[in-house]
């Protein structure tokens, strides 16, 4: 097996490389899903894996998501580390019973005797002009399911590091890949891939003093842009990239908000019942007396994901974030 001297630069490439490196290091890592073998996946993330490791290691399954995850559970019971690909966010729904009733509970059910080190990769979120069912942000479902870790990278380096960490984890991980960042590029050398990031640590992407934008996944670049734009209005915004929703890094988030005294949570998922409620509530619990204004949320509307031609009105954009920042009761102090 010769190491091909690829130079990944997109998130898609970093993810593929993470899978490849994990498979090369650990023969118990198996990839399965619809079209992941010969085709390399509809997003080409698994491109080349079947060729390099054989179809038994990277398997085109029949078209049945509950079957994919259910058989992965059995494989994990026997000591393998399956990485399953759900083709799109909404097509993970048929697998929910397996996920909720088994994947999240098997370790607990068996008092630790039967952990399930499964990674469920879900290309998720909108902004790619996809037709119905191809742009859902389903993280609220995963967050509400005990026993799962829920991870969402926002950068090329994190995509690699977090996916490696997810595969190495003895817990099941739902790995949310922001579709519209697949082709985002960054200086990143596959030959010296970033140290594997531990799951559960948020990171301050941009320090600031006026207010904190709390975000993750596809909304991170939007928040970075908003923070840039905010300078013109005299606001110096801090951007916290959560990287994982479960475990949730209360420490990093609370430290930031205590410092800035104001916060806006930003995500694509619907606002009502979405992750923002949990985040705002826990930030408030921890930082109440430091807050100059309630923690606000900028999120997708509480509607089914709209058709491509209207999605830009739905997605949280720079203007809507700045409008929220403007509502942070600046007259009130600091």
């Amino acid at each position: 097996m010769t190491t091909v001297a690829v130079k990944p630069a997109t998130m898609a490439q970093a993810l593929g490389r993470a899978l490849r490196d994990a498979m090369a290091e650990d023969p118990s890592v198996h990839v399965l899903g619809e079209d992941v073998g010969t085709l390399g996946g509809v997003f080409r993330i698994t491109d080349g894996l079947a060729k390099e490791f054989g179809e038994d290691r990277c398997t085109d399954t029949p078209l049945a998501e509950a079957g994919i995850l259910g058989t992965a559970v059995g494989m994990a019971m026997y000591g393998l580390r399956p990485v399953v690909e759900m083709q799109f966010d909404a097509f993970a729904y048929p697998a929910f019973e397996q996920l909720i009733s088994h994947v999240g509970r098997m370790r607990n059910r068996t008092r630790g005797a039967m952990p399930l080190p499964i990674v469920v990769r879900v290309p998720y979120g909108g902004g790619i002009g996809g037709v119905e069912h191809h742009s859902d942000s389903s993280e609220a479902y995963y967050m509400a399911t005990p026993g799962l870790h829920v991870v969402a990278p926002a950068t090329v380096a994190d995509a690699y590091g977090l996916l490696r960490a997810a595969i190495a984890s003895d817990d099941p991980v739902v790995f949310l890949e922001p579709k519209r960042l697949y082709w985002s590029k960054a200086q990143w050398s596959p030959d010296a891939p970033a140290a594997v990031e531990p799951i559960g640590r948020a990171v301050v992407r941009r320090p600031g003093r006026s207010a904190t934008l709390i975000t993750y996944g596809p909304s991170v670049p939007v928040c970075m842009e908003a923070a840039e734009a905010a300078r013109a209005e005299g606001w110096d915004l801090e951007v916290v990239d959560l990287r994982s929703l479960v475990p949730f890094d209360d420490e990093t988030v609370a430290e930031s908000v205590r410092r800035t005294g104001r916060a806006v949570v930003v995500h694509e998922s619907t606002g009502f019942g979405g992750p923002g409620g949990e985040i705002a509530a826990r930030v408030t619990e921890r930082c109440f007396h430091h807050l100059e204004a309630p923690v606000l949320r900028v999120a997708g509307f509480d509607i089914p994901y709209p058709p491509p031609m209207l999605e830009r009105h739905h997605l949280p954009g720079v203007d809507r974030i700045l409008d929220a920042v403007a509502r942070l009761q600046w007259e009130a102090g600091s």
């Binding site: 619809e34 010969t38 399954t61 078209l63 079957g67 048929p94 037709v131 509307f301 058709p307 031609m309």
Partner: protein, 386 residues
């Protein structure tokens, strides 16, 4: 296996009453070879008018496919899953239905919807991206094109069952791909249909692939039609490129459903000649040779040969069909080249019967944003004019 008389045993060899096979499996099993009409003796029985109608629709369908793919290149459609090679099945599925019947198309089956009479622009709305469904399903009795695979099948069962409970003469025809048969919803739908004896026909287009996954990785069954016996309904295998055969087999199944005979599973063997969608690269998973082998078995070619061989179609007829198709395509192109007029406020219009306070607030926010944008556009326009 003979029964042994044991000393003193009153033991009865037949098990108690709960075991009773209710159906004779033999008539439920499909024939080993797909049923075919064109090029066989059965073609003698054909209704020339119907065949010419089918022919015109196939030609139109082929042209429709070409036009829709062209529209993706021009950025007028977000995506298009072609049915080139599958026109016989698509068209026959539409033509076998009576007006009051319902069609449940999968995401690929816009052609079936168009052949049933739906305006192609409305059929393509989902794929253009201005809304999820471009038509009122009740108008033509066509359910919304269904993207989550196989999930439309229980809908068809429920609708057919409801119609029967109401005493209405309605049959539902539900379309699904070979890949879709692997989903749990396929299984549950067929089982409910058989238990309820619902007037529904399941029509599987086995086009050889689910995106890149060939049938051999999808199932080990002798045929997909063999699944029927496991539900207690007949399974039928038909050459999906033989428009006459598909029409006949589906018509039989619908007649059976309509007369209270219950559901049927029909598998049409066909082939997806083009890539999964315009976004797919089929060369990654199949060779040209395979595709070429199917060209000889083209649905239009098959019907054309039969009709010309019988003197029912001549060059003029072929030309007329092509011209009609061109007219349709030109009109479609023209209409699709107009930008659809969209109102962003529609986002909130049909989430609930009555808008919630919460959505009203969000709608107000969007309205304010749009007004602000319009105002600043007006300012820049005004500035631009100076």
């Amino acid at each position: 296996m003979t029964v042994q008389e044991l000393p003193g045993a009153s033991y009865r060899p037949t098990p108690p009453p709960a075991w009773r096979p209710r159906t004779d499996p033999a008539p439920l099993l499909p024939d080993p070879e797909p049923y075919r009409v064109l090029g066989t003796d059965a073609a003698d029985r054909l209704d020339p008018d119907l065949m010419l109608r089918l022919y015109a629709e196939l030609v139109r369908g082929r042209r429709y496919n070409a036009q829709a793919t062209a529209l993706t290149k021009q950025g007028r459609l977000a995506v298009y899953p072609s049915t080139v090679g599958q026109e016989a099945s698509e068209v026959a599925a539409a033509l076998v239905l009576q007006e009051q019947d319902w069609l449940f198309p999968s995401y690929r089956d816009t052609l079936a919807a168009v052949a049933r009479g739906l305006d192609p622009v409305q059929a393509l709305t989902l794929l253009r991206g201005d809304w999820h469904t471009g038509y009122d399903p009740h108008e033509h009795r066509i359910a919304p094109l269904c993207t989550p695979l196989a999930t439309q099948l229980p809908h068809a069962v429920g609708l057919a069952h409801a119609a029967r409970l109401k005493g209405d003469d309605v049959v539902a025809l539900a379309m699904v791909g070979d890949g879709g048969t692997s989903e749990g919803d396929f299984h549950e739908a067929l089982n409910f249909a058989a238990v309820w004896q619902a007037p529904v026909v399941f029509f599987v287009q086995n086009n050889g692939f689910a995106i890149s996954v060939p049938l051999a990785k999808q199932t080990a069954a002798p045929s997909l039609a063999h699944k029927a016996v496991g539900y207690g309904m007949p399974g039928r295998l038909v050459d999906g490129n033989d428009a006459a055969a598909v029409h006949e087999v589906l018509s039989d199944a619908i007649r059976r459903a309509r007369s209270g005979g219950g559901p049927t599973l029909v598998e049409a063997i066909t082939y997806r000649m083009e890539a999964h969608t315009n976004a797919d690269d089929a060369t990654r998973y199949r060779g040209d040779g395979e595709v070429e082998a199917w060209r000889e078995h083209d649905p239009i070619l098959l019907l054309e040969r039969e009709l010309t061989g019988r003197g029912l179609l001549d060059e003029d007829g072929i030309r007329a069909a092509k011209e009609a198709a061109e007219t349709m395509a030109a009109r479609l192109r023209e209409r699709m080249n107009a930008d659809p007029v969209l109102d962003p406020m529609d986002l909130f219009a049909h989430v609930y019967a009555e808008q919630t306070t919460q959505l009203r607030e969000q709608a107000e926010m969007l309205r304010a944003e749009l007004d602000a944008d319009a105002a600043s556009d007006a300012v820049s326009d005004a500035e631009g004019e100076r």
